[in-house]
């Protein structure tokens, strides 16, 4: 599969701890075009370790673009310049011999840098704990075919549910807004009949926790959609806004 190797200059963010001041460290590398960018980091780390130097801390897990663990910013693009691709699926054949890359962590107040390229995304979990579920207990489910759901609706819900929770939307947004992520979650449940009973409480609780966790507001630049490795649509944000307005109109009016 491989053609010949390419030479790249990599400027990689190093930061000892959340409090420490970070800086770029420069690496000149000869790289196989078939390697993924994380494999390039693996190789650099292997060499650093052999030399007794601290390897670059970065996170990744499935390396199939589905777990959402990995997340680097390459030349200003969360997950790199290739559309609809997670960092782990970014192969070096997408770069040219002689290119210079800047590799940084996701940057946002809500995503504290823990070390080098590792950030803390626990805010996402908190948002989901607030309402990202359907309330029912194991064992009480009716037959799977008891509720008919049109193929179109199921597909739409899945389009939203495909979100891998990586945080690229926050990293791409000039306001570090988490609206694409939250709206994908809200949409997934709001679209399905199973999620309807709690739709209003859900969107209110999730938005509340989102706001509490230092994410910014959406100003509709749509950078999130452009950088999302799963191509989650900003139409979800519009849907979440609708849900939120309806929730405002429909709840708390009877008391």
């Amino acid at each position: 599969m491989s053609e010949k190797n390419i030479d790249l200059t990599l400027n990689i963010w190093r930061q000892e701890s959340p409090e420490a001041k970070g800086h770029f460290e420069k690496f000149e590398e000869e790289i196989s075009p078939d390697a993924s960018i994380l494999e390039v980091l693996d190789e650099i780390n292997n060499r650093l370790e052999a030399e007794g130097k601290a390897p670059i801390a970065f996170e990744s897990d499935c390396r199939e673009g589905i777990c959402g663990t990995c997340g680097l910013v390459v030349n200003g693009h969360p997950h790199g310049p290739l559309p609809k691709t997670a960092t782990c699926q970014l192969h070096m054949r997408n770069f040219k011999d002689g290119d210079t890359l800047y590799i940084e962590p996701f940057r946002a107040t809500a995503f504290k840098v823990l070390k080098d390229l590792i950030v803390d995304r626990s805010g996402f979990d908190k948002i989901q704990v607030a309402g990202g579920f359907i309330s029912f207990n194991t064992g009480s489910a009716p037959d799977g075919n008891a509720i008919l759901i049109s193929k179109e609706l199921a597909d739409q819900a899945l389009d939203a549910a495909e979100c891998i929770g990586c945080g690229a939307c926050v990293a791409a947004c000039k306001n570090s807004s988490a609206m694409l992520f939250v709206s994908a979650k809200v949409s997934h449940f709001a679209l399905l009949p199973q999620g309807k009973p709690e739709r209003y409480e859900r969107v209110q609780s999730m938005v509340k926790v989102m706001d509490e966790n230092l994410f910014g507001s959406c100003t509709n630049t749509y950078a999130c959609e452009a950088e999302c490795p799963k191509g989650i649509s900003v139409l979800n944000i519009a849907r979440m806004n609708r849900e939120y307005f309806m929730a405002e109109l429909k709840t708390g009016t009877d008391e």
Partner: protein, 636 residues
């Protein structure tokens, strides 16, 4: 000294679970909140267990080494989940799913467990639909199915190529609801490093906080291990980078028997290796075999463009050898045959790959229909390899994927350490010597949603364990043990990196304890692994300290355990003088090259008790087959 008691209930197979559920102790709702339960792992099994136990009112603590519970590797399962719903009216039934699974596992699974799995399969689908899992639907609004390897019926439920993700998000959301309600507490970025045993029962764990480096002690009245599988022992596998055997292995060293470690599944549809720098192998869902046809050129060394090779010069070897099942033979059969054709020199793309061709499917159902079914997999393939599968056939090769072996558990999923339950891939239970596609998700969720909530009650109700304090000597001893291990790793100060040793271990294992094994190779590899382990402990370089994030240290601990597990895999494979399922011993095959079982002598589960480093004692759990006739597995 371990005594294996499978606790399989008496009675008719189809009534065992129902009767047993009635016979087990129950705890009254008000008392449940007095029990603390620790769950290690937050994948399908762990998250579903935490959710269900939380719903019942137990106080649950969940530990995960990921930054978020949602990242567990269950998320990467693509193809689907089986259930005996018979929505397709194609003669499916609980019995058929049970039989397919037992047969697929080459009659090395426990009948009662497998039956229960098939029985529960239907509840799982209902459960997941109610949670909002957006399964694929027909135009009329009913659930859609597809067929999968090892079955002649369409019983696989799916959500595009992301079924695992959707199911995990479902379990994760149910768990989050319990977090919201205060019944479950999640501890991310914590790595399990030891189990604490008090008076013979599991009563707590020691974890390392991966951010601060601190060792933390947690006490509970029962421990649930749902820490996943171990095939990352091969270095290159389809598992996630962080998947490891450490939790299971440390528990093993504390007295949990490890069963059938040599049953490792090599998945047939993975992307081929591109070079030494490769970090993992990427799986393409087996669902692809539904519409794709597998072939190699008839002539060895034929390196023409595949589209230029005429039909009569192609060998559709699976369709030729197994006309009844064709491309849908079980995974082990498909993998082994790929290896054989490549060994004959007919491999493509450098020799270690075969074609998976969709040309006929494009003609039959149209490109759009194929795109709808597998679009994301096609995109992934194009992205990784740089080739467009809509134009050129895909190249695939087998890769280690799943460990059927794992910690031995009884019918109630309890290990040989009382109070420690093992769920999901971490246990050995339901798949025998080979797992069929779309049944790992089924098992993880069945264990978590529908088995542990009952059996946990039985244990707690029978034992009525008291709360213990983390200041007890047992906790201190365990913590000290972990600390010593970490200090040892940090003080070797040698020259080799963790990955370089792991890679070498992987090469040894895939070569000699991979798709095809023999006595000579196994004997050799045992010594080679011992030597490598020696090298590891004398010449390893772990940079940094234990007081902050140190990923090298994390990996070093895991590889240390792999180096012991690898040896046991070889020992187990050497002990099993037969071929069954994924365990193929070259000495034991039919004239046609098919696996040859030896039911007389090896119809047992091999459960290994840890004695000391490099020394194990074998315990055998005899397998009774009262409901199926032991047959030679044939997919012809």
């Amino acid at each position: 000294m371990i005594k294996l008691d499978s606790k399989v209930p008496e009675g008719k197979l189809s009534e065992k679970w129902t009767n047993h559920k009635f016979n087990m102790k129950v705890i009254n709702p008000a008392n449940k909140r007095k029990f603390d339960i620790i769950v290690v792992g937050s994948g399908l099994a762990g998250a579903s267990a935490a959710a269900s136990l939380g719903e019942l009112g137990y106080k649950v603590k969940v530990f995960s080494f990921h930054d978020s519970a949602r990242r567990a590797h269950s998320i990467a399962a693509q193809g689907g989940i089986n259930a005996a719903k018979n929505y397709q009216n194609d003669s499916d039934s609980v019995y058929r799913l049970f039989y397919d699974t037992i047969k697929g596992g080459d009659f090395r699974g426990r009948e009662a467990n497998t039956w229960r799995l098939a029985e529960i399969s239907n509840n799982i689908i209902d459960q997941c639909v109610a949670q909002g899992v957006p399964f694929a639907r027909e135009y009329g609004g009913t659930l859609a199915n597809r067929s999968f390897g090892g079955a002649q019926v369409s019983r696989t439920f799916y959500a595009r190529g992301e079924t695992g993700q959707q199911l995990l998000l479902g379990a994760y959301s149910s768990m989050n609801r319990q977090v919201n309600l205060g019944n479950v507490e999640v501890f991310p970025r914590r790595e399990f490093l030891d189990v604490v045993i008090v008076d013979g029962h599991a009563r707590g764990i020691i974890v390392r906080n991966l951010v601060t480096g601190e060792l933390e002690k947690y006490a509970s009245q029962a421990v649930v291990l749902a820490s996943g599988g171990y095939v990352n022992v091969y270095f290159l596998s389809t598992n996630a980078m962080n998947s490891n055997a450490t939790a299971a292995w440390r528990a093993h060293k504390r007295g949990a028997a490890f069963a059938n470690p040599c049953y490792t599944q090599i998945h047939p549809t993975c992307l081929p290796v591109h070079g030494e720098g490769q970090s993992k192998l990427v799986l393409m869902s087996e669902g692809l075999r539904n519409d794709g046809r597998i072939w190699v050129p008839k002539k060895a060394g034929d390196n023409r463009n595949p589209n230029e090779i005429p039909e009569n010069e192609r060998d559709y070897y699976l369709e030729r050898k197994y006309p009844a099942f064709g491309n849908l033979v079980p995974r082990d059969v498909a993998s082994r045959n790929a290896k054989y054709v490549c060994d004959e020199g007919k491999g493509v793309g450098g020799g270690k790959a075969v074609y998976l061709d969709f040309t006929d499917a494009f003609k039959r159902i149209g490109i759009d229909a194929v795109k709808d079914k597998y679009g994301n997999l096609f995109d992934m393939y194009a992205n990784i390899t740089g080739f467009d599968p809509y134009k050129v056939p895909m190249q695939i090769y087998p890769a280690p994927h799943y460990g059927m072996g794992g910690l031995w558990v009884d019918y109630e999923l309890m290990s040989t350490i009382p109070g420690m339950f093992v769920l999901g891939e971490a246990n050995f239970s339901d798949h025998g010597s080979n797992r069929l596609g779309a049944s790992a998700l089924m098992q993880g969720l069945s264990d978590g949603y529908f088995i542990i909530p009952y059996t946990m009650g039985n244990y707690l109700g029978t034992e009525k364990p008291e709360k213990v304090d983390v200041e007890r000597s047992e906790f201190k001893e365990a913590q000290q043990n972990v600390e010593e291990n970490i200090n040892k790793l940090l003080s070797i100060n040698g020259k080799q990196t963790v990955d370089s040793i792991h890679k070498r271990l992987g090469h040894l294992l895939i070569d000699k304890v991979g798709m095809s094994r023999n006595e000579k190779g196994l004997k050799e590899v045992i010594n080679q692994i011992r030597d490598l382990r020696e090298e590891f402990w004398t010449d390893l370089q772990v940079v940094g300290n234990a007081k902050s994030i140190n990923q090298t240290l994390e990996r070093a601990g895991r590889v240390a355990d792999f180096l012991e597990l690898g040896e046991l895999m070889a020992i187990d494979a050497l002990n099993r003088n037969e071929s069954c399922g994924a365990h193929f011993r070259e000495e034991y095959q039919t004239e046609e090259g098919e696996a040859l079982r030896n039911d007389e002598e090896y119809k047992y589960v091999a459960a290994w008790e840890y004695k000391k480093e490099g020394e194990w004692e074998l315990h055998k759990e005899d397998l009774e087959f009262e409901n199926v006739k032991l047959a030679t597995r044939s997919y012809k």
